[in-house]
């Protein structure tokens, strides 16, 4: 799960405070595993260092939670690149993919494209596996089939999500 | 009674009701199916109702026929207040026979013919509606001179045998006992001429032939849409219905069709009944009010139709196993068995042989039943044999082009339905062929070449007495376009009173010019003054110098004629009118002119068939004078009119039955096409030519029909042969009629195919791939 890119995406939608960022993240992507504050600030400082975010303003008071962060041009490019790059098809990708879809919706990018890109990648991978399977021995076949069935499940999820994009957009964008 | 599990009658009622509900709630498909069944059963019921009306029709017609008949002259009937003088003045108009009577009251309260309110006074003309209509037409005006003016009123239904009756009464004051006879009342008591036994036999078989296929058609109709019905029943089994319940539910469904059919049939009957007056078959027409079904027969129909329908649907389920998960057809129980199928026709033939054995069908009750049963058994036998034959043949066919292969395979798997439908054809065609053979044979006795010049008819003008001027008539006739007098004679009779014999011997004599006499006998070397004698029966000529008397010696003064020494014996020639004349042939110079007054004039007029109206002009010329008899016309051949009608009626009936069969074939075909729409679309996607599937449809219809026809033509010929033997006629096949029946069959096949094709084309479109 790429927390950094997720933060960038959230910040692209609008500048936020650190705790605000954590709340937004937890609400949408971290239902079962909320972020630690330490994780949040470590990530933010890494982003700051790489010039992907900047401090937009500091409110009077104490503590790091008073800083408001905004995304930089470089940050936007980074998000775009991340969204356009399909994930390597592997099990348990949902979280990342879901985050990508939501962020694409939040930042006004094409979520369908994200999904299509991903499914193309999945299928490419499945094709390789199928090729291996048809030319391999029984052991190969069984191993490939295991992966194929899992990938197929992911692909079904991609299909389903694509079909429900409008619904999702209505929910995530205020 | 256990709770929630009704038994006995209630169980039955519930199952029946379920069936009724299922049939009516089957959606659009169910509606179409029920409608089709209703229409099919309805057609059958309609026909049956017509058949059930026949007794009443016959009774009513007979009653009126008696009422309008004019009694024979009664010896010693004195003039009285009721008596009427009647002269029959029938005429013909083209093919139409017009029955006419001139009437004259002798007293103040004359008898009145049926259908009139009073006896027409002098010059008053009462006509039947059909005749009135004929007079209105432009051709009909040619008739007016014979009837002496415009009609003054119409004869009502009581005075007509049928709506197509041509009949008139004309009041006249020129009647006396010389030219007419006296009656005290109109109408007779005794029934008319009974139908010949021969005709009874024919009618009996005709009915068998027409009704059997109708019954079969009902059977076929009861199975329309059977497949979807079976699927619904399977769904019911899933809900816990047992087999017996399933059967009752099916019965309930069948009953709906049957009842709807009864209603439809009644409607068809009532509608068809209204058009009955427009139908005239061989001069017979029927009043709407006569078409009333016999109550007993009607009750029989109302009971039998639902029973048959339910029975058939159960029969159809015999080999079905309806299980909760679907419908299974019991694995083919080996080949169809032949022996019991052969049993029926063999038994039938045996029965026929029994009665045909001595070639004497006398029309006894037992014989009638025996013959009818025999014919019936053979015909049903043909119907039961057909599925076996079809099965056996189709399973032996291999290969052939693609459409042929498709059709054959289809028949191998589902030939039952086709065979069932075609069984109707087998019965109808076999019966028709048998009857046609019988008619053909019988008609052989009646239809004769008359010897009249081809392209012409011969009109015969005969006067009642010698008190006419033939020369004037001949001149007038020859002026008519298309008519030409061919021969003219005086027809006399000479009597030879032999001593010691109670009755004198009569010699008919024809007096005419040599050229005219030549038409009757070979009178070569004839000159005026010659006398000839001819007798095809070998009767000897009166001896020379014998004295004969012209006219009945009891009545005439006794104008005498002495047989001359040079009376020449000559060979008779066949003449269309006088046949093989036997008697004296005299040139005018051989008789004293006064003798002619004892005879009457006979003119033979050749009328060209291109000028049929010429005959009417001739009739107008002579008939109104009252001195000439109604003109008879002899065409190229003479045929017995009753058979003509029956033959035509039979052909119409067979066509009707084949149409019914075609109808069931068509419905079967359309059902099948609908069921296979997906397959058709796929085949079309494959680039299958329409032609290929079109031909396969044609073959699929044509093969069963062809087998049905071959089988039935054979059966029909055998039965026909048996019938001919029975009435002592030589075996002869009427090829023309065989061809006709086969032609009708081919027509049905073509029609079914042609109607199926557009549906096929439509279903072959790609949309069908999407269905389901």
């Amino acid at each position: 799960m790429a927390i950094g890119q997720t933060f960038l995406g959230l910040l692209e939608a609008k500048p936020r405070h650190g705790y605000d960022l954590k709340r937004a993240y937890d609400e949408r992507f971290g239902a079962d595993r909320p972020l630690h504050y330490g994780q949040v600030y470590a990530t933010l400082s890494r982003l700051l260092k790489n010039g992907l975010v900047e401090v937009d303003g500091v409110e009077p008071g104490e503590g790091p939670e008073r800083k408001r962060y905004a995304i930089t041009e470089a940050g936007i490019t980074d998000v775009a690149g991340w969204l356009a790059t399909p994930e390597k098809p592997e099990p348990y990708l949902q979280n990342t993919l879901y985050a990508k879809v939501v962020l694409a919706l939040l930042t006004g990018r094409s979520a369908a494209e994200v999904l299509d890109t991903q499914r193309a990648e999945h299928l490419r991978f499945m094709r390789d596996l199928t090729h291996r399977k048809t030319h391999g021995d029984l052991a190969d076949q069984l191993i490939c089939d295991f992966a194929l069935f899992h990938l197929e499940a992911d692909l079904r999820w991609l299909e389903l999500t694509a079909a429900r994009l409008d619904q999702l957009r209505a929910e995530v964008t205020p | 009674m256990t709770r929630g599990n009704p038994t006995g009658m209630r169980r039955w009622a519930i199952d029946f009701a379920t069936g009724l509900r299922l049939a009516s709630a089957g959606g659009a498909g169910g509606l179409v199916r029920t409608t089709l069944t209703a229409v099919a059963v309805g057609l059958a019921v309609g026909l049956l109702l017509v058949a059930a009306s026949l007794p009443h029709i016959f009774v009513e017609r007979e009653a009126r026929a008696q009422a309008v008949d004019v009694p024979f002259p009664t010896e010693g009937l004195e003039a009285g207040p009721h008596t009427v003088l009647v002269q029959q003045r029938d005429t013909r108009f083209g093919e139409i026979t017009i029955i006419g009577h001139l009437v004259k009251a002798e007293g103040d309260t004359p008898a009145v013919p049926a259908g009139l309110e009073r006896l027409p006074g002098p010059g008053e003309l009462m006509v039947s509606p059909a005749l009135a209509e004929l007079l209105e037409t432009s051709e009909g005006s040619l008739l007016a001179p014979r009837l002496d003016g415009e009609p003054d009123g119409l004869i009502s239904q009581d005075g007509l045998v049928g709506p197509g009756d041509y009949r008139y009464y004309l009041g006249s004051d020129a009647l006396d006992l010389e030219n007419s006879h006296r009656v005290a009342q109109f109408g007779v008591e005794e029934p008319g001429e009974p139908f010949p036994m021969m005709l009874v036999l024919l009618a009996l078989i005709s009915f068998t032939v027409l009704l059997l296929p109708v019954a079969m058609f009902m059977g076929v109709a009861a199975r329309f849409g059977g497949d979807s019905r079976d699927r619904r029943l399977a769904a019911l089994r899933l809900l816990g219905t047992d087999r017996a319940m399933t059967r009752r539910v099916a019965a309930g469904e069948a009953l709906l069709g049957a009842f709807a059919g009864l209603v439809a049939g009644t409607v068809f009957f009532l509608i068809g009944r209204r058009f009955v007056e427009g139908i005239v078959l061989w001069d017979v027409s029927v009043f709407v009010s006569d078409v009333v079904p016999d109550p007993v027969l009607t009750l029989l129909i109302v009971v039998a139709v639902p029973v048959i329908t339910v029975g058939v649907s159960w029969l159809a389920m015999r080999r079905l196993i309806i299980e909760p998960l679907g419908v299974f057809r019991q694995a083919a129980v080996g080949r169809r068995r032949l022996w019991w199928r052969l049993l029926l026709p063999v038994a039938g033939l045996a029965s026929l042989v029994l009665f045909a054995r001595d070639g004497a069908f006398t029309g006894g009750n037992l014989e009638q039943v025996g013959v009818a049963a025999g014919v019936m058994l053979v015909l049903i036998g043909a119907a039961t044999l057909l599925p076996w034959v079809l099965d056996a043949v189709v399973h032996r066919i291999e290969g052939g082009p693609v459409p042929w292969q498709l059709a054959i395979r289809r028949l191998q798997l589902g030939g039952d339905a086709a065979a069932r439908a075609v069984s109707g054809i087998a019965v109808a065609a076999a019966g028709a062929v048998a009857l046609q053979m019988l008619f053909f044979g019988v008609q052989g006795q009646y239809v004769t070449d008359t010897g009249v010049t081809d392209g012409h008819s011969e009109a015969v003008l005969q006067s009642y007495t010698a008190d006419v001027d033939p020369d004037a008539v001949v001149r007038a006739v020859d002026e008519i376009d298309g008519a030409e007098t061919s021969h003219r004679f005086w027809s006399l009779v000479a009597y030879w009173d032999i001593e010691g014999e109670e009755w004198p011997t009569a010699f008919p004599a024809m007096v005419g010019e040599c050229a005219d006499l030549a038409a009757l006998a070979d009178v070569t070397g004839c000159a005026d003054g010659d006398a000839f004698f001819t007798d095809p029966g070998g009767y000897p000529a009166p001896p020379e110098s014998t004295t004969l008397t012209w006219g009945d010696p009891a009545l005439s003064e006794g104008l005498e004629w002495t047989v001359p020494a040079d009376l020449r014996q000559v060979e008779a020639r066949y003449d269309p009118i006088n046949g093989q004349f036997g008697g004296l042939l005299l040139t005018p110079g051989a008789v004293e002119p006064e003798a002619l007054a004892t005879g009457y004039a006979q003119l033979q007029v050749l009328v060209s068939d291109d000028r049929p109206l010429a005959i009417e002009h001739i009739r107008n010329l002579v008939e109104p004078t009252g001195s000439w008899q109604p003109v008879t016309v002899i065409g190229n051949e003479v045929s017995e009119p009753k058979f003509d009608g029956i033959r035509r009626g039979l052909l119409i009936g067979v066509t009707g039955v084949m149409t019914l069969v075609g109808f069931s074939l068509l419905i079967g075909m359309l059902e099948q096409l609908q069921e296979r729409r997906r397959l058709l679309s796929v085949l079309s996607a494959f680039g299958t030519r329409r032609r290929v599937l079109g031909w396969s449809v044609l073959w699929q219809v044509a093969l069963p029909v062809a087998f049905g026809l071959v089988l039935s033509l054979a059966t029909g010929t055998v039965v026909g042969g048996a019938l001919l033997t029975m009435v002592d006629l030589p075996f002869a096949v009427d090829w023309w009629n065989l061809a006709m029946v086969a032609g009708i069959g081919a027509g049905v096949v073509l029609l079914v195919t042609v109607i199926s094709l557009p549906v096929l084309w439509r279903l072959m479109r790609a949309d069908g791939i999407r269905t389901e």
Partner: protein, 227 residues
């Protein structure tokens, strides 16, 4: 070899109120296996029917072998389907009265091959698809998987240049489905036949070389960021 065998551009097809196709493009290259994917009702089958010449699009151009198919007469297109194309559908495509062998021989016979020769070649194909044992049975007496293999044999027996398959494994379990796909693709590869495969099953689509996605009647060609 990347010569396009069939090119479709800007296809539109309306059914009453529904736009079944609203601008679909596609190219089939000789010998390739192309998968058409997309949600139900998106227009996959319509697209397939259009490019196979079964349905005429309202507008757009379909070029097969350099000839515009939309301008062809019905009989020309039928002839094309008979001689150059093969078809496999989900179910119900075999003539129920004919034996499996006769079903496979049918396309050859419709192209005028004599019965003996046609049935010999049909038998070879049944053997290739490992269903020789059902040759004498009728479609109603064989399993779904066997029936589909018979259908594949029938589609390929006339050695078409292009095979159209619409959900060929739709009615089969995964094992049978895979077997059918394996046979289909390997036999097609052997003949050099291009395959257009409509499916919504990823594992079936994985037998393709390339896929296009149809959404709301529009095609989207997605190039996977091949690494």
């Amino acid at each position: 070899m990347t010569t396009p065998l069939l090119t479709a551009t800007a296809l539109h097809k309306r059914y009453g109120e529904t736009d079944a196709l609203a601008g679909a493009d596609l190219t089939v290259t000789a010998g390739e296996v192309l998968a058409i994917m997309g949600p139900s009702g998106s227009g996959k089958s319509t697209l397939l029917h259009c490019i196979a010449g079964i349905v005429t699009p309202d507008s757009g151009r379909i070029e097969y072998d350099g000839v515009d198919m939309t301008a062809m007469s019905d009989s020309r297109r039928s002839a094309l389907r008979r001689t150059e194309f093969g078809f496999v559908f989900q179910f119900g495509q075999l003539v129920p009265e004919l034996t499996c062998l006769e079903n496979v021989a049918l396309p050859l016979r419709m192209n005028g091959v004599a019965r003996k020769a046609a049935e010999q070649r049909a038998a070879d194909w049944l053997a290739k698809l490992e269903v020789s044992d059902v040759a004498r049975k009728r479609p109603g007496q064989v399993s779904g998987g066997q029936g589909q293999r018979v259908a594949v044999a029938r589609a390929l027996v006339a050695e078409p240049r292009l095979l159209f398959a619409d959900e060929p494994t739709g009615a089969l379990d995964s094992l049978n489905g895979e077997a059918v796909m394996r046979h289909l693709t390997s036999a097609a590869a052997e003949l050099g036949t291009a395959v257009v495969l409509v499916t919504h099953e990823a594992r079936v689509a994985a037998y393709s070389h390339r896929e296009i996605v149809v959404r709301d009647g529009r095609t989207r060609t997605v190039v996977a960021a091949a690494s």
